[in-house]
Symmetry: none
Subunit: 200 residues, 4 copies
């Protein structure tokens, strides 16, 4: 009885439009009107599905985390060993090519920027970052142990994540970074760092 709900699909449609608009025109350009237009919907409808604009960003943040997770799982399925799993994670978060969404990088940077002003968003953003840090630490730890390298896995994870975030930033706002080279470069550096003295 009654009209069937299409809320889930519509919300995804709105979030995806936000992703595209943000990648194209930054956060300033991502007005509710602009998002509505990109999604082919009326501005009023966006408020039927989200309480306010901030909620759309929250949903986008979840969406981005989901995209990264999905990509990681797809890539991890093909790799074996501690090194393989670590590289799969890095490729999932940094590499271009199959399954990558360039818009996601820009959107992620904008959300990070907006997180300062929006307290609730900041809390969620920080949680995602923390989660990534934990994942990375867990992946680095066995590698370090196997190589008998005396390095703090957590500290290395922070630096690695910073590098990834920095690549995002530079790739979004400048042309000094070749997107395709980021992942190989980081993999090389990590291998060198971790394995550098393995034969000592």
């Amino acid at each position: 009885m009654g009209r069937p709900s299409n809320a889930v699909q519509r919300r995804l449609q709105i979030v995806d439009a936000t992703l595209r608009v943000m990648a194209r025109t930054g956060f300033d350009g991502a007005s509710v009107q602009a998002i509505a237009k990109e999604a082919g919907l009326s501005a009023g409808l966006l408020h039927h599905h989200f309480d306010n604009k901030s909620q759309i960003l929250h949903a986008l943040l979840d969406h981005l985390e989901g995209l990264a997770r999905a990509r990681h799982e797809a890539l991890a399925a093909r790799r074996r060993g501690d090194w393989g799993r670590l590289e799969a994670w890095i490729d999932a978060h940094l590499a271009v090519g199959e399954g990558a969404r360039p818009e996601a990088t820009a959107a992620w940077v904008w959300i990070g920027a907006q997180a300062l002003k929006d307290e609730a968003l900041r809390a969620r953003y920080q949680a995602v970052v923390q989660r990534r840090l934990d994942e990375l630490t867990a992946l680095l730890d066995p590698v370090l142990r196997a190589q008998e390298v005396r390095l703090d896995a957590h500290a290395l994870a922070v630096t690695t994540l910073a590098t990834i975030e920095g690549y995002y930033q530079l790739a979004t706002s400048t042309a000094v970074v070749d997107p395709g080279s980021a992942a190989p470069q980081l993999r090389r550096w990590l291998r060198r760092t971790v394995g550098g003295q393995r034969r000592r």
Copy 2:
């Protein structure tokens, strides 16, 4: 003969107020009125000294570059050798403590964000990044040569700069990074990377 011009001082006053406002409330909060209030001036006066808001950001970008340059020169004066100069550069851009301005970090992130929308700003932002990249490459090159390490100095500079930018981002929007540990951590990593096989 009229009153003496105080334009230079006023411009600096405005730029510095922008720096503080941006660090506190992000780009969204940095309205012309808010900047004027922070500077203790009227909003109209800001447009007397700058054509438009974007010009204030341009000036702030220059100001930030100047701050970093000044800090670098101060630190470099005390260091000797290729390693010393490289570490001085890193400390100038990343370390806390003497001469560091925490607000500059946040403002830099916001300017990077705004650069996407504002084409002219993006060009200048990119130029600054390029300049830093060149400086860093020039500092890394002799070190790599001395250690007889076969690494592309430019590629290493990109990764290093990305790490620095990423630290900025993480420090501004989250609490997962301890600001004090960023510079030592990066120095350690670099030494390991560059010097790792120096004894081979």
Copy 3:
């Protein structure tokens, strides 16, 4: 033969929800969506049972008049004599306690306010006021005659009704009126006014 109509019950349900919402959040808060939520119905259904929002107010006006009438009848049944009937009427419209609905007072004030904007509502509101005035005049007249007081019953009715409306207003928007004292106070004043010279 189709399902039996529940229109009457639904309309009452909607009107009663409006009464509660209005008492709680004023006319501003009484959006169609808010009323629907309070009633546990969908907003669309409200327009199935009422042509538009104004019609709900019309129905609420009728409902409020019905409530007062019912209360009056209940109270009048226990009283005898001209004085008794007059006091029953006053208690029905002003007294707290048994059968009184505090929400009705606030809702009545809001409807009076809205009546200015909504022409059709104003006509009905005015009709209700006129009816009350007539009732009050008819009740005052025999009392005045019996006391051989030379007062215009209609003029006295207007003032009395104004006092009642004023009590509503003050009780709704301020705390300067003790709701429980309004009816006794008005009764006392009336007795004094009407009976003041009865022994002349």
Copy 4:
């Protein structure tokens, strides 16, 4: 130096436009746009002089109190004796004619209505009502004493004020009250109440 401020005059202009709009179209019609149009100003300018719409109502409330006070003082100057002062107060708040502003009545009613939703406004509204109550009590007290009438001046003041408020309400929303007769009627009633037994 700099442009001279016309803020006081502009604020008054805005408040007065609000008074007129409210009297004509009620609170619903008193949108910021409508007020701006009535005042012949842009909507943006209203927010230059008032933080938000609610502040305009606050100022209007003050303005209305000022109007009543001014009228009272003008009328009181011509009257002598306890009775004279009491009647001057009543005429100031209720009578039509010289110095009376019919719009003020309607605006006062709307502000009372809006006070329920707006907590800060309610506090001020209540303060004004309380002040009037105190004034009225102070005026009634000597009259009651002189007549050796055993009546509680405060209770009588509440009822009198309620009657006045009720007249406002009825005059604003209905046509059952002849505005010109309100003040004489109330004076007559008061004289009867207070003086009824003076010759006992």
